[in-house]
Chain length 207, copies 2
DNA sequence: GTCTATAGAATGATAGAC
DNA sequence: GTCTATCATTCTATAGAC
């Protein structure tokens, strides 16, 4: 699952510098969005000159495309791991758990996509409509099977995915709001988030 | 609840033009974020010249601040309506329902805040830390009371709010992804979203 | 491969006529 | 209040020396 073709053969120094630029670009694009980021910022973060950055990637757009492509693969991976033969509630909860963990460990990846989609998904639009739609459709059929077998509450599978995505990515994407609202002196943020999400997914809010 | 002082006295034409600019600016800022928007775009959308827009608001930042301030009030309103004496599950579900309806009817307001927070909340940071924190703290105490009385599952109130916010605003903020994944020929998007969210909040995914 | 210098375009903001 | 013209800055991208 990718939106770009495989990388061409490179010398060692090329690969290293490209990787350094990609890392810096993830930092910058995820925080400021495409338009809000400058090649200068990326160069500074990577510890290179602007001209040198543009030697490896001809255009700002090319850097952005490369970062999106590299991040996309890993970001969507866990969805594929949902096991049709497992216990439905367990499988969904484990998926949610993995997504929450990813929001915690790779918040920049989450924010990169959030920025991209929020601003109309100009670059990954085709990917969403084809590769992602295909994958999601398969997983929704699995979930619909569980519902038909009476192993899952009568919900709309697609919207269960939306809820899991939104509830978990929220902790990365809305971090400034979360930091503002939760007591700075308690270290239980993700622990409480996990417990509450598990409770709601498995049994709802009823006492 | 506001982040700006009350408007000063204005002539009729001033008020009309300022309103026209604010409407156009909500369009533009919510789609492209602060840095991604230009005064020219706002002027075009408002049907005015750039110079004339800057006659009413001296700086681009001033337009942005005005849009945020006007939108903030209405956006947070329903949280205040949660009734401590009502049935806990009903109150929370009704709040979620109102939020979902707002995502549908005012998606640009949702995206405006999403852009602002995603990029570090530079303008509303202080608002989040004071006014919003105070309001949320009050509501969380109400919910904690419900839990202590055994009327609500043992969850962390703050994270229940996060889940309701994220799950509902997702339909506005991630619209391009949602449009890509749901069958274009079915008109039941918000209906299914509401049903699924209600099911999960009230009884979870268990069959 | 990396640097300095700079061209060329976009953008925020102002001046001044009407 | 509104317009045209323009300045000043920022930014992408390229040229050319080393």
């Amino acid at each position: 699952m990718t939106i770009a073709s495989a990388p061409k053969k490179r010398t060692r120094i090329q690969a290293q510098n490209e990787a350094k630029i990609i890392r810096a670009a993830l930092d910058v694009f995820s925080t400021h969005g495409y338009r809000g980021s400058t090649v200068d910022q990326i160069a500074d973060t990577a510890g290179m000159s602007k001209a040198n950055v543009l030697y490896y990637f001809n255009k700002k757009q090319d850097i952005y495309g490369a970062v999106l492509a590299r991040t996309l693969d890993v970001w969507l991976d866990p969805l594929d791991e949902m096991n049709p033969d497992g216990n439905p509630i367990d499988e969904l909860w484990q998926y949610a758990q993995r997504k929450l963990q990813m929001s915690r460990e790779a918040p920049r990846a989450s924010r990169l996509f959030a920025n991209e989609i929020l601003q109309g998904a100009p670059v990954i639009r085709s990917f969403l409509h084809h590769e992602l739609k295909e994958l999601v459709h398969r997983k929704c059929q699995v979930m619909q099977g569980w519902i038909n077998d009476g192993k899952l509450a009568p919900v709309t599978p697609l919207h269960v995915l939306f809820l899991i995505w939104s509830a978990t990515q929220h902790y990365a994407d809305f971090d400034p709001q979360i930091q503002a609202l939760h007591d700075a002196d308690d270290n239980t943020l993700y622990h409480d988030a996990e417990r509450t999400l598990k409770t709601i997914l498995t049994r709802g809010l009823a006492p």
